[in-house]
Symmetry: C2
Subunit: 382 residues, 2 copies
């Protein structure tokens, strides 16, 4: 294998692909990056067995300055290879391998030799057979991820809850995540045919969606293909492969309260900042709990009983309707939920001090099937 | 105690003083910040017993918006108090204490109560008796710190080597640091009378100089007072107290080679970048060693024998004089030394492959007593 490529473009692709590569792995070859040169271009692959990221650099893309002299493939340790390419002295780098699988990177007067492994020994990625590609609206899908992913569980005891559950319905996709203390639910409008969506629902691991959200730019297209055990995202020259989470996802719709005995309207950021301040004190105590006391438009927020001290604040709501209520909750969960509303006015609905509270935006979207809900289970303090 | 103050200015002073405060301490009260209100203003004190930082906020400084209603003093846990003040909702904060040493911070509708301790129980700082203040040239003194401090030892077996040694001579101060593998030496011109400098030499702990360098702005004045066991730095409204390191500092002048058998001239940054690249490979092996091979103006830099691979680079020197030489050294020490020359052309002098090499700037300063030297002991590889 021998090729020359522009160093900046090569470095950028190495960084994207390396997002999948673990620094330590039980399968040693997975700490490597696979580099394959064909007449058409260079393919880079990184994987941790759950997520694989593939990047294709085409000889036809003039911005890459890619010239292939000899085809072949090799695997080299990703971390050190990336560091070397990043720090080389000139704008071009020539990569060459020999029969002993030693890779040589040359740039200006600098020559690095790295011991590698035969590219044939790297695990193969599944072939993409499906033509059932769904075009996802990039900005809305990234919102769906960021507004739900924090509610996904970290507990491996129920693996299916560690992902975000996507449900396909005519004209929209609904994303749900829950750790059984809180639930996030976002609907976004998506056009697809029943032919394209050959499935009702899938659950995608949190890590996959985190990487997708970081890698994809707002102006890029995302195509999604779902196979029996995998989901594949196509973004320009990048392909992200991920396993799906198995198991029955709970029926979450029945958890959403249909009516409220108390409702308040206030600004999400104003509420967020007050909770954030109060949490400074609740973090000091054994129980990380903040209490709300709603009787009129002045809502009392308080943290009591910490050995270090206490916090009190009165927040002006825009409106308060229904019964007076006292309710306690985990302020960190509330902060996550409030942040997802990006500072708009919100409606918070309560049923009782032991039933979940429901947060939604005061103004509904003009687009149908475009809605965000955050559900939070209170903490019983008596 | 009761006072009201502008929150932004108060936060900035809390941050400076808190630099001295440990998050955990064997003497619990040292995790606190002492706040004292007198008619003249507010004094904040933080300390880890080795370094103490004091800030005075005067009622006469209109920018602080400081109004004192009641004098007194208290100690509260620094970390949480700082977080609270930083996150309060309005531009002003009122601090009040009661007889149970509970501090209340009020800002807008937010009220925080923090359990504190009597300010009388906080250790007292030494009184500054000396009028022997030396005015230090701020920018040059900060250079002296940053260009020597990395050579100070981390080994507590010889405590005196963990600091920077300052020697007072007519018209200049010389700072030296060494961990016995390398030595940094910077001279700066300073005007003082023998009356002001009531000492020949002192050794200041590394941590003190690190904090001083971070806190002091280039346009601020530094005054230094040396007492029997302490050094005190005065910077505007801040006072930094530090213990001095005890013990005899080694006579380092005799370590500096007086002549060289080989000399090269090259650009510090060009050399630095090549060493930095080569160190990517040397960090992979057991011995962190880079080798230089000097025969003509093309200097060969190489790393061999790592199980992962090798690195080679040829660097063009501006001139090479004297005997051919092969010499090996720790690239991380070399990088520290080269960085201190900020990209100017340097002269590197060699005596033999087992004797220290000496780095100095090619162009000497026009100001007398203004010189930087870096000494590096090679590694024997045979």
């Amino acid at each position: 294998m021998k090729f020359t490529i522009g160093r900046a473009a090569f470095t950028a692709q190495l960084i994207d692909v390396s997002r999948a590569i673990p620094s330590k792995a039980t399968i040693p070859i997975l700490t490597g990056i696979k580099i394959t040169a064909t007449k058409e271009g260079i393919t880079l692959i990184g994987s941790d067995a759950e997520i694989s990221i593939e990047s294709f650099l085409s000889v036809q893309d003039d911005s890459l300055g890619l010239v292939i002299e000899e085809t072949g493939s090799i695997v080299v340790t990703a971390r050190i290879f990336n560091d070397i390419v990043r720090k080389l002295p000139t704008t071009k780098v020539t990569i060459e391998t020999n029969e002993q699988f030693i890779l040589t990177a040359t740039s200006g007067e600098a020559i690095f030799s790295l011991n590698g492994t035969d590219g044939q020994s790297y695990p193969r990625l599944p072939e993409i057979e499906s033509d059932r590609k769904i075009n996802l609206p990039t900005v809305l899908f990234k919102e769906l991820i960021s507004q739900t992913i924090f509610s996904a569980s970290n507990q491996e005891s129920r693996p299916v809850l560690t992902g975000v559950h996507l449900m396909m319905n005519e004209g929209h996709i609904t994303g749900v995540a829950t750790d059984s203390h809180r639930l996030s639910r976002r609907q976004i409008p998506v056009e697809f045919t029943t032919d394209q969506a050959n499935f009702e629902a899938i659950t995608i691991p949190k890590k996959t969606l985190n990487e997708l959200e970081r890698i994809v730019q707002d102006d890029q297209m995302i195509e999604m293909i779902v196979t029996e055990q995998q989901v594949i995202f196509l973004i320009d020259n990048l392909t992200i492969y991920s396993r799906l989470l198995e198991g029955n996802y709970p029926d979450t719709d029945r958890l959403l309260p249909s009516s409220h005995t108390t409702e308040i309207v206030l600004n999400a950021d104003q509420f967020l900042h007050a909770i954030d301040r109060a949490s400074l004190m609740s973090h000091q105590g054994k129980n990380n709990v903040v209490q709300l006391d709603i009787t009129d438009d002045n809502i009392d927020l308080s943290v009591q009983g910490s050995s270090l001290g206490s916090a009190n604040e009165s927040i002006s709501a825009k409106s308060t309707t229904g019964e007076p209520i006292k309710i306690s909750f985990n302020p960190d969960y509330m902060k996550d939920a409030l942040r997802s509303f990006s500072g708009v006015d919100i409606n918070v609905g309560f049923t009782s001090s032991v039933r979940p509270l429901l947060i939604s935006a005061l103004e509904k979207s003009e687009t149908p099937n475009n809605e965000l809900l955050q559900l939070l289970t209170p903490i019983r303090t008596h």
